[in-house]
Amino acid sequence: MSKVVLKTENLGISFGGLKAVQDLNLEIHEGQLYGLVGPNGAGKTTVFNMITGVYKPTTGKFWLDGENLTGKKQETINHKGIARTFQNIRLFNNMTVIRNVLVGLHNQKEFRCSMLESILRLPRHFKTEKAMRERAKEILRIVGLEEERNNLSCSLPYGKQRKLEIARALATNPKLLCLDEPAAGMNPHETEELMDIVRRISSEYKITILLIEHDMKFVSGLCDEITVLNFGTVLAQGTPDVALNDPEVIKAYIGG
């Protein structure tokens, strides 16, 4: 088996006595497409918030590539290689599409350029600026937004805004990409396109993907392995076929 990218051990968080997530044990292997599903309020986004540093877990730990990142700051975790998108889109609305991606490229080692170099407009400033633009265009090409690169990001239609969020996350060069309901609000055609993009990111760029999604077709068509959450606890884990047919899972969704 390939090496483990993300590992969580008894990860849990409680808000004033309410246990939003408890005893979550995940093991995501390199190159895997991992799904996190569950009914509303199951704690899926809370898991994302924990592994990206928005919340500090109250119990348990998690490792990225064997490095313990529990309780680290958001930007540190991003530098280490976890990038995310948001359920409710959070783009930099007053910037153009390409600038959104350029912000994502900000911390890449090859584009390092100190503020003093920028103020004095030394050659390195122009060189990095040009290289960054090239890379940003490449990334936009992956999600198919190259043509719209000079539009304001808030003027894009909803589906494209989601793709732009993915592009921005990709720009930070992550080892693990966390997609929070990427297909929410998309029509079937856009969903198809998105599945294609996600598949390509996974296969061509060798990025491990963890995604939350309600669209079961999307999940079962894409994911190698899933975890079903309900009320913060794990109901089932395994391949989509097995996990989604688990009687507990069916009960949680349909009731009974």
């Binding site: 990206t52 928005v54 700051k73 958001q74 930007e75 991003n78 530098h79 990038a83 995310r84 948001f86 959070r90 783009l91 930099f92 609305n93 007053n94 910037m95 600038r99 350029l102 912000v103 994502g104 490229l105 900000h106 911390n107 584009f111 350029c113 503020m115 920028s118 103020i119 004095l120 407009r121 400033h125 990095t128 600026e129 960054m132 808030c154 003027s155 894009l156 239609p157 909803y158 589906g159 494209k160 805004q161 921005r168 996350a169 720009a171 930070t172």
Partner: protein, 381 residues
């Protein structure tokens, strides 16, 4: 030639205008016959531009409301002024311009340190709360200098050295150019992108790996540095520094200038600085005695009018019709004749119809497309 064409001239227009004025001032200084009223006005305009441009970095680009800019200026003025006064006494044979440069550096750095310290709470406080803290900072600094027990002068002010009146406007505009150079180059670089990203969405900026702490502190420190430099400059315009000059009204005046110029627009801040300083100057000579208080009323009115003009839903139609951009495009754009438009190249959103297209299409058109209905005011906010 091609390289010249590739330069985005609109990015450099402010250098050209300010630079031309600086050369004019250099010429006037050389001729040496500027009347006193003009030297004061030009120096004041320079000081105001430096302050407004640096404040617009905090308010317009970082998106934090700071009301303590006069405080940073006060630090620069007192520290720089005191240093200059001592140096002039101690080293009588030292060139006064060298002393000025030293005072400028030290005053600026002292203010920068204060900016850094004020930046620390700015990491935790947002919006109004930060405004209160910075406001308090400005007042505290002023009162400390006022009651320094003789170190920084007494209640009536502190004596400072002065440069030649004729050259001061020129120096002031050289410093404006330096300020413009530094702030614009920061804004138009990857660092500027990071700063505006923080303004647009702090959560997303953090998730994208932007070091929010570092950039907030940096912007506060740099803005304070320039405020300090402006302070030293202003201390050189008069024989005396008076703490009352740097009260909160002055900070609010700067904020009015930034808002009037349009948040996040450096050129706007420059134009507004010139305008407000000029009006100020005129009012100061016109209003005497008790009437002088009315001066402050103007800022209040300007601020209220701008905010209402920019945000009132009732004025939406008016704004769209009398928008400067639209006016220009109306003047320069070709007349659009619907009868001459071929079907395949028609821009349907511009063809006048009696049917309100928004209403008809609003059901299945996605937001963002050219045919999409306008968002309601509520959604926008």
């Amino acid at each position: 030639m091609k390289a010249l064409m590739n330069i985005k001239w609109k990015h450099y227009i402010n250098y050209v205008v300010v630079g031309a004025f600086t050369i004019y001032l250099a010429y006037m200084a050389f001729a040496g016959d500027m009347p006193r009223s003009q030297t004061t006005l030009y120096t004041d305009i320079g000081v105001t531009i430096i302050l407004a441009v640096s404040l617009s970095m905090v308010v317009g680009f970082l998106g934090e409301l700071s009301l303590g800019h006069a405080g940073f200026m006060c630090v620069g003025a007192y520290v720089g002024g005191k240093l200059a006064a001592t140096f002039t006494e101690m080293f009588t044979d030292l060139n006064e311009y060298i002393i000025f440069v030293i005072a400028l550096t030290v005053g600026g750095l002292a203010a920068m340190l204060c900016g850094f310290i004020i930046g620390l709470p700015a990491l935790r406080l947002r919006g109004d709360y930060l405004a209160i803290v910075t406001l308090a900072f400005g007042e505290i600094v002023r009162i400390i200098f006022l009651n320094s027990g003789g170190v920084f002068g007494d209640q009536s002010g502190m004596k400072t050295p002065r440069l030649d009146r004729q050259i001061l406007p020129f120096i002031s505009f050289i410093l404006v150019l330096v300020t413009l150079f530094v702030t614009q180059n920061i804004i138009r670089s990857k660092h500027g992108r990071a700063i505006t990203a923080i303004r647009d969405s702090e959560i997303a900026a953090k998730a994208t790996g932007i070091n929010v702490t570092k950039y907030k502190l940096m912007v506060f420190a740099i803005a304070a540095l320039f405020a300090g430099i402006a302070g030293v400059l202003s201390s050189y315009t008069e024989n005396k520094i008076q703490a009352a000059t740097y009260d909160y009204n002055y900070s609010i005046e700067m904020l009015v200038i930034v808002v009037l110029g349009g948040m996040g627009s450096i050129n706007g801040a420059i134009v507004a600085s010139v305008l407000i300083t000029y009006i100020n100057n005129v009012l100061q000579t016109q209003l005497q005695g008790n009437m002088a208080v009315l001066k402050n009323l103007i800022y209040a009115i300007v601020l209220i009018v701008i905010v209402i003009y920019n945000n009132a839903p009732a004025l939406k139609g008016f704004r769209e019709t009398y928008n400067i951009k639209n006016l220009f495009s109306k003047i320069f754009a070709k007349k659009h004749d619907p009868s001459k438009v071929h079907d395949d190249e028609a821009k349907w959103d511009r063809v006048p119809t009696k049917i309100d297209i928004d209403e008809v299409l609003s059901v299945d058109i996605q937001t963002g497309s050219p045919y999409a209905p306008d968002k309601s005011e509520k959604e926008k906010n």
